[in-house]
Amino acid sequence: MFATRRFRLLDYLVTIVVILTINFMVPRLMPGDPFLLVSAEAGEEFAVLSERQREYFMSYYGLDKPLHQQYLIYLQSLARGDLGHSIQYREEVTVIIARALPWTIFLVLSATLLSTLLGIIFAVISAWHRGKTRDNLLLVGLVSISEIPGFLLGLSFLLLFSVYLGWFPLAGASTPFVRFDSLLGKLIDIIHYAFLPIIVLTLSRVSGSYLLVRNTLILVLTKDYMKTARAKGLPERVIRYRHAMRNALLPLVNRIALQFGGLVGGAVLIENVFAYPGLGSLMAGAALARDYNLLQGILLVLAVGVLLANFMADLVSRRLDPRIR
């Protein structure tokens, strides 16, 4: 229904400029004194500064320079890879993000892969038994689950499987203070902790790929060349996977690209529900502490990540699209 949105390189650059500008402007548009937040001690609301202290801090942080100069300085430090200093953790923002990023990447990639795979599998089952009970059940079931927002679904899974049944841990990415003898043991532990977040993230997205592939398959199955293939005596499996799936591949890749932003957003909330130590939890903590260097850094990383994913999906879809060869 939507035309495939092809971003040229220029569009990506413009988007990055927009992100950088938003990142730069929002803290400066903030009502009130920036120093209220920067220099207040933990637990205190205000830091009372004398005029001279204010002037000193303003010049120290470069906040007395004209806006475009501040912007240039900001861009320069970004180019150097300097994302600033976190007030909460008293560390470089880049270091803090580097610690949390792998967990988020793990969640997001697993959920994308799993939701696409499951969507395809269910769609194949559905399309092959279309109109019958199996199809209807799958349709109603998957669509209903996807209607429930990810974070509410996550809360319910947490309450049911972790709190009530005790099958899964309540927080974290791996068992603390434990050293594993084998890589396998460590992997199993990590999966044990990541299981619920990944499942919830997957379930909240699976209906997208499911509906897409199912509809494409149903359309394709009625076409004439399917009858030709059967008449040729090709085995059922070849027909299913080679002919029918090919057609669904391109819209699927496009869909993954379109959805990626939403997936990342969902991951942020779900990480908070399960206290998973990825960028999501980091971001929530930074927002509460008004640690705006860290917030800016995380937003930048997330936005650039989503753009990268879109870019790669665009490349892949360009190669797959028979119209552009």
């Binding site: 988007t15 548009l29 942020v268 927002a287 509460l288």
Partner: protein
Amino acid sequence: MIIIKKWEDIASTVCSFWVSLTLTGKIGLAILVLTAVMALFAPHLAVHSPFTASDETLQPPGNGHLLGTDNMGVDIWAQICYGARISLYLGFATALLAGLGGSIIGIAAGYWGGTVERVILRFIDIMLVLPRLPMIIFTAAFFGSSLENIIIVLAAFNWPGPARLVRGQVISLREQGYIIVAKSYGASFWYMLRKHLIPELAPIMLVSMVRLASRGIVAEAGLAFLGLGDPTSKSWGMMIYYATNFKGIYFTPFWQWWLLYPWLAITILVVGFALLGRDLERSTDPRLRYMVSK
């Protein structure tokens, strides 16, 4: 005489609308109406006050408290009834702001075309690519946590969806014969808007607004859950925030009423919006309009 006729008209429109919904749509609408009733009649439905303690803290359901009490001794059923007001207010305000604003932008893009359209379209595409929730969190962290600010932030990041849909519809409309004829007769923009565009666009705008309301409520719950909500509003999201931030909530039985019921309330409301929205989508799909059977 005229007044009676008006009531009959309203009644018949409502009835035909009701009949046109499928069973799931009816369930959705029923959920919404019930929530509205709960919100409107909150002072009568809830015996206790939602703002002050009325009993011991953390009482389980029963004993005069339909859903128990929270950690301050405030009745949970009362909080849920009054919280319905916040949720509905928030949903409709966001839907109105983002829906109307987005529609206006979409109409501008579709009707005028040219550079205006290209610029707006690029802007919409950029905003749709970026991860919405992190940007909302980022902005909400800076612009503060009053309910009005949250509504503005939510509207600011949700208008591209309706804008895009409306623009698409306007584009297909402006090729219609009667539109071209009207324009060639010198119809002004406002005339076109009033007589032709708005009636055609109204169904899509309605569907968008239903979805926007649902998204707004979920987003506010999400923000509140993260601690960025309005602490003075007794929204369901804030109830979940206080519950999940209670030390040891998962090791005690309190979650079974304090956390569970606000969660249930939000989920049911969102599902209601979703059911209604799906049904409206089905019946206002422009592709179906030109089908012979009905």
